[in-house]
């Protein structure tokens, strides 16, 4: 079986659809370790990838005014138990273009694996970029995931990011996104993670609303149990008139787990407004009792509530 087939098998076992990676109309890139094992380019998208000693360098550019109809699929993974995968990625979305990226990161056998993503993202004026990243980990907890991105959203641009790590052990996650939003631009971050055993989850989300009428939402949903730890640092700045931002953090804690949230709101323009809400605690009593009243056992009821919150 080739690395591609093994990666697809692991991806399918964790709930993905490998068919997406065989269609000629779907743009895609498949990277195993530091090897590029599959790629498909479609008109309007320029894709460049080169091998590095410890990963790959990728440049994805969408031409101005291009509306990409189908999501672009990116698959990153490592099959060995140990190793490093560094993805140095640049996304350049031309003015008024529209594109959706769906990234799958699969580490089914990891015992000591590092997955580092260094992203530079530029969303041009009036463009829309959607990016979702879903992780599929094994049960060993031996993955260190460090997605780090610097995002610039130009005037009227829209950037939506979703990150999900709830299949398998989180291991150690250090999520770090910083976004600058220009006039009438929009940025939405949505990070979800589930940790147990001795997993450690750190989420850093920073949105700077620098242009008039810029809007931002930093949302995080974390659930930890056993001895897992989670820390969420959400910072939103309102630096221009009519800028509107919101931080929304919910962490569910069970057993001996510990959760920590630090929402920071900074406003330097009197006409800007930034709000925040953070809720840390056990499962909501009303939700739990509602499910128990349907005859569900407590463990299953809690699992349904947590999985729902994490979007599973």
């Amino acid at each position: 079986m080739s690395d591609f087939d093994l990666l697809m098998a692991a991806y399918e076992a964790s709930g993905g659809d490998p068919e997406l990676f065989s269609s000629s109309t779907v743009a895609r890139l498949v990277v195993s370790g530091n090897e590029i094992i599959g790629a498909n380019q479609i008109p309007g998208i320029e894709m460049f990838a080169e091998q590095l000693p410890d990963g790959v360098r990728v440049r994805l550019a969408v031409a101005p005014d291009t509306q990409v109809a189908l999501p672009v699929h990116l698959c990153f993974g490592m099959l060995p138990e140990r190793g490093m995968q560094r993805i140095v990625a640049t996304f350049e979305i031309g003015a008024r273009a529209s594109v959706e990226f769906v990234a799958h990161c699969t580490f089914p056998n990891a015992i000591e694996v590092e997955h580092l993503m260094e992203g530079e993202i530029h969303v041009g004026a009036g463009a829309t970029m959607r990016y979702s990243e879903t992780h599929y980990h094994g049960e060993h907890g031996g993955v260190f995931v460090h997605p780090k991105a610097r995002v610039i959203v130009d005037e009227g641009g829209r950037y939506y990011s979703g990150f999900s790590l709830s299949h398998g052990r989180a291991g150690k996650l250090d999520f770090d996104y910083e976004i600058d939003v220009a006039r009438n631009g929009l940025a939405e971050l949505d990070a979800k993670a589930l940790g147990w055993a001795d997993d450690e989850i750190i989420v850093r989300e920073t949105i700077r609303l620098n242009g008039e009428g810029a809007r931002g939402l930093a949302k995080s949903r974390i659930a930890v149990r056993d001895r897992a730890r989670s820390q969420v640092f959400g910072t939103t700045e309102g630096n221009a008139p009519m800028a509107r931002g919101h931080i929304d953090c919910v962490e569910i804690v069970r057993d001996q787990a510990i959760a920590h949230a630090v929402p920071v709101v900074r406003v330097s323009d009197p006409q800007a407004q930034v709000t925040h809400e953070a809720a840390i605690g056990t499962v909501d009593k009303k939700e739990l009792e509602t499910l128990l009243a349907r005859g569900l056992d407590e463990e299953r009821a809690v699992d349904i509530i947590v999985r729902g919150m994490l979007g599973d």
Binding site: E289, T290, A293, R294, G295, I305, G308
Partner: protein
């Protein structure tokens, strides 16, 4: 086993319930016949919702004396999910919201194996179309829609005893006659309905009624008799100080 009309599915005997040192239910006794639609009518603060929560076993309320017999078995010490498994469920007056849980999944939770046909039937029973299946049971639904989903979930479950706490409050475009049709469908399927309400409009749905005031059932009888007394004496309230004091604890 065959059931007669007079068989009691639920019998509450001299039930006392306190919260934070204050008695909210003071010796409630009530018998509910299997297959009946029994309304417990009372003003806000009379102890109705407390009674619903205590019957379901919801936390925060503890019976200090008395018995709750369900199909002849005392369930007062059973946890909420064991009561659910026994066939009792509750449609909450203010239903919870669940982030990320679809209506379809929510409706199927009370069934051992979710049956798509039953879920479709349940949505239709509360006048919601199929597009609701994929919507989330969260802030995206209005209060009225959420309430209808709650009633649909109870209907889908086919419980032996459905406790409906103020099903007619806050429901938009779903009238008392719609609720009556839903309850009659439940009754036709063999579900006994205990309807908790402050609205005399719902009394006509029931075939038995009880009047609750100050944490006591003060009269049980045919719905028209109870309704007349409720309109005459309870609205306006004969004993506003008592009801207001008890209501303060119910609102906690």
């Amino acid at each position: 086993m065959t059931h007669t009309e007079n068989e009691r599915i639920l019998e509450i005997r001299d039930l006392w319930v306190s919260r934070e040192g204050h008695e909210i239910l003071r010796g409630v006794s009530l018998a509910v016949a299997r297959g009946s639609v029994h309304v417990v009518l009372g003003l806000n603060g009379s102890g109705k919702s407390t009674l619903a929560h205590v019957l379901m076993g919801a936390g925060g309320y503890a019976a200090t004396a008395g018995q709750i017999l369900f199909e002849g078995r005392d369930i007062a010490s059973l946890p909420i999910n064991e009561r659910g498994k026994a066939g009792i469920t509750l449609a909450w007056q203010e239903p919870a919201r669940f982030e990320g849980l679809t209506v379809e999944r929510y409706l199927g939770l009370g069934q051992p194996e979710p049956d798509p046909a039953r879920l479709a039937e349940a949505l239709e029973a509360v006048s919601l179309d199929a597009s609701y299946r994929t919507r989330f049971v969260d802030e995206g639904l209005s209060g009225g829609e959420r309430k209808r989903v709650e009633l649909a979930a109870v209907y889908a479950m086919r419980p032996k005893l459905a406790i409906l706490d103020e099903p007619d409050s806050g429901i938009d475009r779903f009238t008392v006659s719609d609720i009556a049709r839903l309850i009659h469908r439940m009754a036709e399927e063999g579900t006994t309905v205990l309807l908790i309400s402050h609205s005399d409009e719902v009394v006509e749905i029931a075939n038995r009624a009880s009047l609750i005031c100050g944490g006591r059932i003060i009269q049980t009888g045919d719905p028209q008799t109870i309704c007349s007394r409720y309109i005459q004496f309870c609205n306006p309230c004969e004993n506003p100080d008592l009801v207001e004091r008890e209501g303060a604890y119910e609102r906690l």
